[in-house]
């Protein structure tokens, strides 16, 4: 049981990759990429978890209480923001691809040149 969160992260990652590889729609592909990236949140947070640790916020909690790692939480925050920014850019590119080629199928777009 103690490795379950890591297994969940790995499973989310693999499912996301499988979705990206088999995707027939650029919007679907972007969502799959978000799923893949979500695995890194699960992994980061589970790596930083301390048994019986509280949230690293010491308002009303005595300083020195066992708390979980704040570094990985800050990294997860970065991860989420970057994920949103990247998904915005990918969707914009998908819109552009649709305007130029009339399709959102990644295989169909490859035939369009220029």
């Amino acid at each position: 049981m103690s490795y379950l969160p890591y297994a969940v992260a790995g499973w989310i990652f693999l499912v996301g990759i499988a979705g990206i590889a088999t995707s027939k729609n650029l919007i679907h592909l972007a969502v799959c990429l978000t799923v893949t990236q979500s695995s890194s949140y699960v992994l980061l947070l589970s790596v930083g978890y301390v048994k019986h640790g509280v949230a690293p916020i010491f308002l009303g909690t005595k300083l020195g209480t066992t708390a979980v790692d704040p570094v990985v939480q800050a990294l997860t925050l970065t991860d989420v923001v970057v994920s949103v920014a990247v998904i915005g850019l990918i969707l914009a590119l998908a819109l552009d691809a649709h305007r130029l080629s009339g399709t959102v199928d990644p295989d169909g777009i490859a035939d369009v040149s220029g």
């Binding site: 297994a7 020195g64 708390a67 800050a74």
Partner: protein
Amino acid sequence: MMVLGPGLLGLGSLFAWAMAGLPAFGDYHGPYGFVLNRVVVPLRHTTNVVMGTTFDVRGVDTMGEEFILYAAVVGVTLLLRDETRSKQAERRTRRLPNDTARLVGIAMVGGGLLVGLWLMAFGYITPGGGFQGGVLAAGAILLLYVVGSHRDYRPFRDVHALDPLESLGSGGYVIVGLAALASGTAFLTNLFGLGTTGTLLSGGSIAILNWASAIAVTCAMVLLFAEFLETYVVPLEPEDSGS
């Protein structure tokens, strides 16, 4: 498919192998977490250690992150912005037909903005922060588009205000860093008085950096929504014959 199956299997096994080498869940060994949880409150007076880490201990990283967001917004804007289309959008209006839905929606806009502002303002004291609050506030503004008309939403997506504000947010972060450099210390050193622990006047530079990123994130999100709405949603809406 022939490549994908074995590939995923291989990747999965490598991942499992790597995970087997990690300490068990909850058995944390890394020193940094414990050190930060001990020193951030006495040294920086911010009770939210995550924000103390984000805006001070690894402040330079966060600056890079803000520029990723900035670059993405610039990219989306370059790809999608079209001045003629936004003029067209201003002439189109749309109303949610159900009054109850509108009323509930408007209450949610107010509530969302309020919670967003609270998360921003108290970000370094209680759970929250500029990034989270910014996204929530931008979501509330987007909700205004959903429940109201494009006309109600229009003042919030004025690019002449959003573009400079977005730059102010991202640039403000760098200016705080440069101010430390100008005063003879290292880039992004915490400059201002640390204040009283657990109050809004605590954390020194952390408070300012928190607000800078709150502004940058809110504007970035509103800009992203606005560019997408004008490209994608607006052309699909029928003309309002009543206006």
